[in-house]
């Protein structure tokens, strides 16, 4: 077991290095000199070169990269050019909001998604399957920034049941969480359906039936447990991408999380903020994938024997 997990963990190191490198390269290739944004239009060359020195923009790109990575290794991410606050502090402060939203979305999406997928698979080709399949593919096709606006219009502005935007408790969270959960629900239903169909024809299901095990028990234990693996992957991936900030949903609903923070950083060309957000977000994404891989190990004995991925 340890070999499998150790291998996965060891692969993280070059991956994380690659991520910092790409992020650094991307942000440094950004057009528009942040120095001009900082000093404003009417400033003297002396001020410009002073600010340049302050933020370290006078050094070569390689030295800045080495500097940035060594900063990261000490657990620092630099300060925002604009607010002069430590980027890591802001990320830590906003992360619980993003986490809450992501958890909320998953709580709304997972149970109905799996249930619909299971029903569709067991009724394959029948009316229920068609309705569920049509419903889940439609959920995947609607852009979240549009469904979010419609939900905001209906529940926030017309019916006035929920606050249309802002950050706060459950009442504020409901609309963005539902918005996020819609495509996830569609994906989970589809994946559950496909993987249940894969399992249904397996010889061990036939054996279970031949042994006279009740059909409800076969569905609940034999089929669902074996069909779970791809479903866990999808849930993990979706959750990971919400954790790293649902940029669109948070921007629309004014939810004070990582996604909105990223977007603000991009608009203001606030390099330390952009780099910090992308690195934290991608690291979380990669780590959640690792957790999913480790979960496999426990759900699926076949992984334990082969010691490789799927």
């Amino acid at each position: 077991m340890n070999c499998y997990i150790a291998k996965k963990v060891a692969l993280l190191v070059p991956l994380l290095f690659g991520i910092t490198f790409i992020t650094f390269a991307l942000t440094n290739a950004l057009p528009g000199d942040p120095v001009y944004n900082l000093v404003g239009e009417r400033s003297t060359p002396e001020i410009i070169s002073k600010v340049r020195k302050e933020i370290g923009a006078d050094k070569g790109i390689a030295r800045r990269y080495v500097g940035y990575v060594s900063l990261l290794l000490t657990g620092e991410m630099g300060r925002s050019y604009f607010t002069n606050r430590r980027v890591l502090d802001d990320i830590v402060a906003k992360f619980p909001n993003t986490l809450m939203l992501a958890l909320g979305a998953m709580v709304i999406a997972v149970p109905p998604g799996m249930l619909l997928g299971l029903i569709a698979a067991l009724k394959k080709g029948r009316f229920a399957d068609r309705v569920i399949s049509a419903f889940s593919i439609s959920l995947l096709s609607v852009p979240v920034f549009w469904s979010g606006l419609l939900l905001m219009l209906l529940f926030g502005l017309v019916l006035k049941l929920l606050p249309p935007s802002g950050t706060g408790g459950l009442r504020y969270m409901l609309l963005p969480a539902i918005t996020l959960s819609l495509p996830a629900l569609g994906t989970i239903a589809r994946v559950t359906r496909v993987s249940v169909l894969d399992v249904v024809d397996m010889p061990f299901i036939r054996t279970a039936r031949a042994k006279g095990i009740a059909s409800s028990r076969i569905k609940a234990v034999h089929i669902l447990k074996n069909a779970l693996i791809p479903v866990v992957t999808v849930i993990g991936l979706d959750f990971a991408s919400y954790l790293n900030g649902a940029v669109l949903t948070e921007t629309i609903f004014g939810w004070d999380g990582i996604g909105r923070f990223t977007m603000e950083g991009i608009i203001k060309r606030d390099y330390p903020v952009i780099m910090g957000c992308i690195i934290v977000g991608t690291t979380l994404f990669v780590l959640s994938n690792l957790v999913v891989d480790i979960l496999y190990y426990y759900i699926d004995p076949r992984v334990r024997i082969r010691g490789t991925d799927r």
């Binding site: 950004l30 593919i137 999808v234 940029v247 991608t282």
Partner: protein
């Protein structure tokens, strides 16, 4: 192809035709500002109403679709091209080249895709080419992985062995013998992914990274008019319906392609 697949293809073909012939179908100027008819609800003169500058929404939806669809399709084809090249070279060369290419592919796939697309698109001044570059710099990786798998499978087949035996050089083998064998798979994969490209394109335009005003795209029409959603919801409804309907039809078409060719079974659209 089932009935849904047929209906979806019909819709896609009509959208394509409307986009190609939009200057003949819509007799109004999509960017013409008319201060006498601001925020007009749907009427005979303006079937989908007008926006906050009095521009005809139907005309803008038609012209916007032209941009949204061509950007998505071109970006998908560009991803396919890059993916084919990388996949063919990586699979055929094997060894170190393969290791390096696949490490890059894994790296790109380890980024959350929308975040990476946003990251790439802020590198360039906003516009349709920027969106195309952003979409394809994210999208090529999954194509490369798929094609590489196909090449690895084909490598063992007798006809490639014969090609080696009669002394074909590497370029000839890759481009004359592998490429045609990989094309159908690559094209099917492109079809499968188009719904996703439409959605990401609209998200980038919504964020203001795509075509700049006054040019209309479906995504930018929604972001420009979202402030009026309470007083004039029709301004936001029609472009959203178009995005959803187009993405849905591509996804439905993708499903029937998937069923027919049995690839990419993870159940994800886009």
């Amino acid at each position: 192809m089932g009935l849904t697949g047929k209906i979806a293809s019909l819709f896609i073909v009509s959208i394509f035709l409307i986009s190609v012939f939009s200057p003949y179908l819509a007799n109004k100027d999509p960017d013409a500002i008319d201060l006498d008819s601001l925020h007009m609800p749907p009427s005979l003169g303006h079937p989908l109403g007008t926006d906050n500058k009095g521009r005809d929404i139907l005309t803008r939806v038609i012209y916007g679709g032209r941009i949204s669809i061509s950007v998505s399709v071109l970006a998908a084809l560009l991803s396919m091209g890059i993916g084919l090249l990388v996949g063919l070279v990586s699979g055929y060369a094997g060894g170190k080249v393969d290791t390096v290419f696949m490490a890059v592919v894994d790296l790109v796939l380890s980024f959350p895709s929308l975040l990476l697309a946003i990251g790439v698109s802020v590198l360039f001044p906003p516009g349709i080419y920027t969106v195309m570059i952003a979409l394809s710099s994210v999208g090529w990786a999954s194509f490369a992985r798929l094609i590489r798998g196909q090449v690895l499978m084909l490598k063992e087949s007798p006809y490639i062995e014969s090609a080696h035996a009669i002394g074909c050089n590497n370029w000839r083998i890759v481009f004359v013998h592998f490429l045609p064998q990989c094309m159908p798979l690559a094209l099917v994969m492109t079809g499968l992914r188009l719904g996703g490209y439409i959605l990401t394109e609209s998200a980038l335009s919504f964020l203001g990274l795509g075509a700049q005003p006054p040019t209309a795209t479906w995504g930018s029409m929604i972001s420009a008019n979202r402030a009026y959603i309470n007083s004039a919801p029709w301004m936001v409804l029609s472009p959203g319906i178009m995005i959803a309907a187009t993405a849905l039809c591509f996804n439905l078409l993708g499903d029937s392609l998937r069923e027919r060719y049995g690839i990419d079974r993870e159940g994800r659209a886009g």
